[in-house]
Symmetry: C2
Subunit: 225 residues, 2 copies
Amino acid sequence: MTESAADEQPGERSVVAAIRDAIVRGEFVPNQRLVEADLSGQFAASRATVRAALIELTNEGLVERVQNRGARVRAVSLEEAIEISEVRMMLESLCAAKAAERVSDAEVGELKELGELMQQAVAGGDVVGYSGLNQRLHRRVREISGQRTAAQVLERLRGQSVRHQFRLAMRPGRPQVSLPEHLAIIDAICAHHAERAAEAARAHLGSVIEALKAADAAEVSHLRP
Amino acid sequence: MTESAADEQPGERSVVAAIRDAIVRGEFVPNQRLVEADLSGQFAASRATVRAALIELTNEGLVERVQNRGARVRAVSLEEAIEISEVRMMLESLCAAKAAERVSDAEVGELKELGELMQQAVAGGDVVGYSGLNQRLHRRVREISGQRTAAQVLERLRGQSVRHQFRLAMRPGRPQVSLPEHLAIIDAICAHHAERAAEAARAHLGSVIEALKAADAAEVSHLRP
DNA sequence: CTCGACAAAATTGTCAACAAACAGCGTTCG
DNA sequence: CGAACGCTGTTTGTTGACAATTTTGTCGAG
């Protein structure tokens, strides 16, 4: 367990990345206090460097800082996760439409291959592999769109909601629902059909929102049988 | 000249606000270098405080920082301003729809009064007053929507594009174009008509995008008669 | 006169130490 | 017996100085 935290170079940029990784990977759980001195020891960096990293991560929405009270891992509620998904619905549909307009032939091949891999992953029951392909697809669409402002916002939001996304991906039957939605997005983009791509992205994110609500309800009932 | 920069308390939060104000107010022009030691003297704060402020403003998109090369005021190109407006088109329409669903009777009165004030400002030729009301309206809609995630993103983007927005507001005839668009948004929200509100917001931002392109073309031709 | 290397200045990145603020806990007074 | 008060330990906020890096200015060779 100590291996993951001991191998560092004291660079400043890397400390930000290291703490961010620790948060999104779940090594630091929500609401966990982040004491500057402790992190300083863990990552072999000075307290000032850690402090700068915490400020940066605060603006990314991953940590919460209150005056004279320190920093802690920000816990995003279900309500916030839904808000984030609503924003994603708007921006991913924008990116999908732009991507459909600008996609090159090489990128069409790339996307179709991604679609094949996703189908195989779902068929083979490889949930975690499918989850990774999922992220790759969304990121590639953002990149192809050329809308760097939207892409930046989406990347930031992804960090905040990664925990909910992962929980969702783990629910049985979820991949079977999201796979056709993803394939629809791919098809529309590859067909250079902007309006259909936007609609497919909207539908997908709408499905995510519904699944978030359903998953929460299911877990609540699981805790109170 | 020294008067505007000398009155400060060395608080950390206030330094961020002070520098941000200096940037959005145009006191610091785009691409101007922001030397930590200089700012430290100007705002009567330690260099570490200034440094923290610059990191925060970097994540807000107002300043640009490169390794060992310092910080400078970020210059947002026309292309970026259009990208930002596209994102705003998506998110403000979302907020307008949500606001239409949640608006209270008191808020309806508030919005209608804002509309009246805007009409008066345009009728009286008070361009800068109208610009202020414009901002108030957009902010109020965001607040009423209850979509804090979208509101946060929009607030951040506003800071980045304030320069372009202001230049736009100054163009002759622009208020006469945007006023009815704003009134349409107000009407739709006050009528609790979500779909119409979203469409009105989309139309307004689309108009902004067109005006940005037109204004740029006009200025280029002005420089090369 | 231009180009390249070298040296000096300026600026950022890093660190350790000091001061202020807060939280928990025991004591004391009503 | 309960609550307010003050104390102590911990954590953050701030400061100043040092080291590393980049930029600028100068000099000499081609």
